[in-house]
């Protein structure tokens, strides 16, 4: 796929109108997630500064402060708090209509480290009306376990290949399409979770010390999206993505939204997103007995479920005429309400006996996601 895309790129005639790099800007964000007794919040910082018309640098820093008493945690461990810190730097180089991007990031938790590097290439052609992009990413993770000094750190190797295309269709319409293949190899389990199985021919139940996952995972995702301008000051957008992997997970999500300006300073957005997936072929809410199959897990993220999201956003522009070295700025508030409904994963919080398992309720919960941020262009 990568090779074919590159060949196509080389054949395409690049004409007129040179591309430009994104504007210099700084963003400061506070984020908050609250759902099913999991709270995650923290700051994030992103700055982009050009060194010349052809070189632009980016740097970002991100913190997750996590307090978790989720169902997986309270039934197989105890409530915990931790934080994750992520930092990254990148650079964009522009040559005529081609932009080359390189970057590296590192994420650290007390039991997980991840380093990711990436390379990308974006080519504009047909007077800037079409954009083709190719990307390659490589990640190396290390998985550890806090509560077990005998647990040997485990490695994960990740690779991603991405192809994207954006097309202006008319003076009021633009569409885009993306394809991404991701492959992982290594220790892909969550080391703190086990699978649940019946004991004593169904009279009792227990959790295993660890899940047993395959050592590899390869996934493909394809998406299309479009935006249409509604005169004089609004737009509608839609997006669809299809996902499949070799763990037998199939997923679809579809999204619609409406964005509108009020005057020169206010901008508002509402949206709806629906997501649904099938479960992996090694997920079971409860296995009939220990070692029932080669691979076994009880992660709700890999169980069949769906969710509905309602999105609201507002943005206010300040300094519209600039001040000192600043060109303009916005203050923004985005809120997402998400309802998760699981098809097989049940709430086993109060289950003490196997006879109660058939009466467990399917898990359902709401999550609230908030982003408050300031963007300044300079």
């Amino acid at each position: 796929m990568f090779k074919r895309g590159l060949t196509l790129l080389l054949l395409l005639p690049a004409i007129v109108q040179a591309a430009v790099l994104p504007e210099d800007r700084v963003d400061l964000l506070y984020h908050s997630y609250d759902g099913q007794d999991v709270e995650v919040n923290g700051p994030s910082f992103l700055v982009r500064k050009s060194l010349s018309p052809n070189v632009s640098l980016t740097a970002n820093y991100y913190v997750d402060n996590i307090t978790s008493a989720s169902i997986d945690v309270v039934t197989q461990g105890s409530k915990y708090t931790e934080n994750r810190r992520e930092g990254g730097i990148g650079a964009d180089f522009l040559y005529e209509d081609t932009t080359f991007t390189v970057g590296i990031s590192n994420s650290e938790e007390n039991d997980y480290s991840a380093t990711t590097s990436w390379f990308g290439l974006t080519q504009e052609f047909f007077g800037g009306l079409s954009t083709l992009s190719l990307g390659y990413g490589r990640g190396s993770d290390e998985v550890r376990r806090n509560d077990d000094p005998d647990f040997e750190p485990q490695d994960v190797d990740r690779r991603s290949y991405r192809l994207g295309f954006t097309q202006v269709l008319s003076k009021n319409a633009v569409m885009g399409a993306s394809w991404e293949t991701i492959s992982d190899e290594g220790y892909l389990n969550n080391p703190y979770r086990g699978y649940r199985f019946l004991t004593n021919t169904g009279a009792g139940f227990a959790f295993s010390d660890e899940e047993i996952y395959p050592g590899t995972r390869t996934s493909n995702a394809a998406s299309v999206r479009g935006r249409y301008f509604l005169a004089p000051d609004a737009s509608v957008h839609a997006e669809y993505r299809y996902f499949s992997d070799d763990w037998d997970i199939r997923a679809h999500n579809i999204e619609f939204g409406y964005t509108r300006r009020w005057g020169e300073r206010w901008l508002g957005e509402v949206g709806y997103r629906y997501y649904t997936q099938t479960g992996s072929d090694f997920f079971s809410n409860v296995f009939a007995f220990e070692n029932a199959q080669n691979f076994m897990g009880r992660d709700k993220e890999y169980s069949p479920f769906d969710n509905h999201t309602l999105r609201f956003g507002a943005s206010y522009q300040f300094l519209p005429d600039g001040w000192w070295r600043l060109n303009s700025g916005t203050i923004n508030l985005n809120y997402d309400f998400i309802r998760f409904s699981y098809d097989e994963y049940t709430d086993n919080t109060n289950t003490t006996d196997a006879s109660q398992i058939p009466n467990e309720k399917l898990l359902e919960y709401d999550a609230h996601v908030l982003r408050l941020f300031i963007s300044i262009w300079f």
Binding site: S178, A221, R260
Partner: protein, 72 residues
Amino acid sequence: MKSVFLILLLLGSSACTQVEPWVKPYERANLADPVMLFERDPISDSYMHHVREAREGARGAAGSAGGGCGCN
């Protein structure tokens, strides 16, 4: 094979003849409007990708290819 050759021929010939942009630069005001940007706020969008990838089995192909408004 014949169709591949024809496509290559067409692409090759288009490299010699300038293709006129079908949306002229002076017709791109609507496309440049902030309401038409796929990813207006990169810091917020990347956070939402992170939230979803942590809680959903699907991953990848999120976000746009960049550019595409032709407004430069």
